[in-house]
Symmetry: C2
Subunit: 329 residues, 2 copies
Amino acid sequence: MRVYFPKPPKEDSIPILREAVGSGVEILTGDVPDDFEMVIDGRPTEAFLSVPSMRYVVVPFAGVPEQTLKLLRERPHLSGHNLHHNAADTAELALTLLFSSAKYIVPVDQRLRKDNWGSGLLDSRAMTLDGKTALILGYGQIGRRIARVLVASGMRVLALRRNALATNEEGVELHGSERLHDLLPEANVLMVALPLTSETTGLIGVKELALLPKGSILVNIARGLIVDEEPLYQALKSGHLHSAGIDVWYQYPEVKLTLAGHAPVEDEPDIQSPSKFPFRDLDNVVMSPHRGGTSMDSEPRRLRDLAAVIRAAATGEPVPNRVNLEAGY
Amino acid sequence: MRVYFPKPPKEDSIPILREAVGSGVEILTGDVPDDFEMVIDGRPTEAFLSVPSMRYVVVPFAGVPEQTLKLLRERPHLSGHNLHHNAADTAELALTLLFSSAKYIVPVDQRLRKDNWGSGLLDSRAMTLDGKTALILGYGQIGRRIARVLVASGMRVLALRRNALATNEEGVELHGSERLHDLLPEANVLMVALPLTSETTGLIGVKELALLPKGSILVNIARGLIVDEEPLYQALKSGHLHSAGIDVWYQYPEVKLTLAGHAPVEDEPDIQSPSKFPFRDLDNVVMSPHRGGTSMDSEPRRLRDLAAVIRAAATGEPVPNRVNLEAGY
């Protein structure tokens, strides 16, 4: 099988990948080859997909860009796949944002660096999570990992997923997404872990934030556009929300928007305000620069999972992580 | 029963406590009464303990100050008790420090507040915890809670406790404390959750830090003196440690050292460098001002547990949380 990988994430990833897939697979980079059966690219061009031998499109990250979904829907002979190699890292970042918001760790760290302990040991606006209720929006690989940890932390955990029947799974109360408005008033913690689709764009707006009890925490590690920008800022500023941990934003540096998920490492920092509202002036938000699944360990994990997809296709076994073109992820 | 509570944490705690304990108990504050059966104080004076009717000393926080242990050991007719109401909060702070160290959340937050996203989405020194090994020192109420969450996070979890036989409990590998040096080389994460005793003072020094694999994380939510100050600073500075999350320090503002655990809320911030080494200049440490069990919810939890101790003593039932005077906690 011939695999075309036009933009590999790092120079040394191709030899690692070649070794992992073994013989019988040719991995090509550089100029577009004459024919190939698989392309690894988040946003493959129409030209790539028109190669007669093409069978598989592999998006080398979680989520699938809308333009790629459209191209795949128009070409039912192609099979679209993506990677969930960073579900653990993204869940860990979500938990990091939850815990650090709940305990106001950023402002107390900054204060103690100036030798200021605050006004006595009892100076704390920290929230205890044990015994509180969390509502997780999205119960895919990331949502499940988050749920497991929050159950272990002593929280009552509710989760919403599309078309779910009310049920109980490993201590998690599952509900269908139509229950959102009923359950928001119970959520001391709201974790947003949904893919961005036409149904989830703007899902959490003024009304939904108002339905949360006063003093709750919101964490978004999915996509900025799922939570309305100005209502989020206002709910933090007014104190309706105790705090928020936000990894996904409303304004991105150009390079990130284009290459998200497989950008080459660059030395120049990217400068761009993440919102038109001054989140930077709030001490009850933890701001993370769309790091989601990125860690020191994420490239080896990506290559491991990518190799598994390629091997399955090359040997005629079922290819994992097929994209649901209707659902969009 | 007459209970003397010389320094209640807040003005409104006495009426709440009176209501919770019910009739048959007199709770006294202010000047030392002529006789009483119970004193609630972390560091009761000899005079209090010499009252002939005295039976119970209740330390209204976790851990027992050395001077109080000494007084209790000299008076075997007295029964010493303490509170573990903040085990959940302290475990949550430990997890906060672990996650925020692993993901470098403080420096990336500070950077994004200046519109700086870092050099591309792949700019990350974050550590993935899933699949790594954690070693928890101390397996009391706090250690167990931490262990449960780390197991749920996909980590292999080892824990050491005094006099334990090697065994397996809910996914946690338990070992006796004599295995410390054998297990440190396996620990990608070291969580210190031990009481400070003569045996644990300086437990983690130059040798023990060197035994940790390069790139591991240390979290201390117990007492500063368990981890040697200069070796900790050097291991962070050299990068031998990936990072550390530290709640307990080497230098304290005077008021904290004296009243730790039941200081009145004060408006004046306390200024004191937490160490003679410049931890403040390191970006791989998360600095927390001895907040441990403190949260918005900790006073109600303290009073709930204190009332349970008082009620048990008043009705002649077994009184919970008796201090082990030999072990010192």
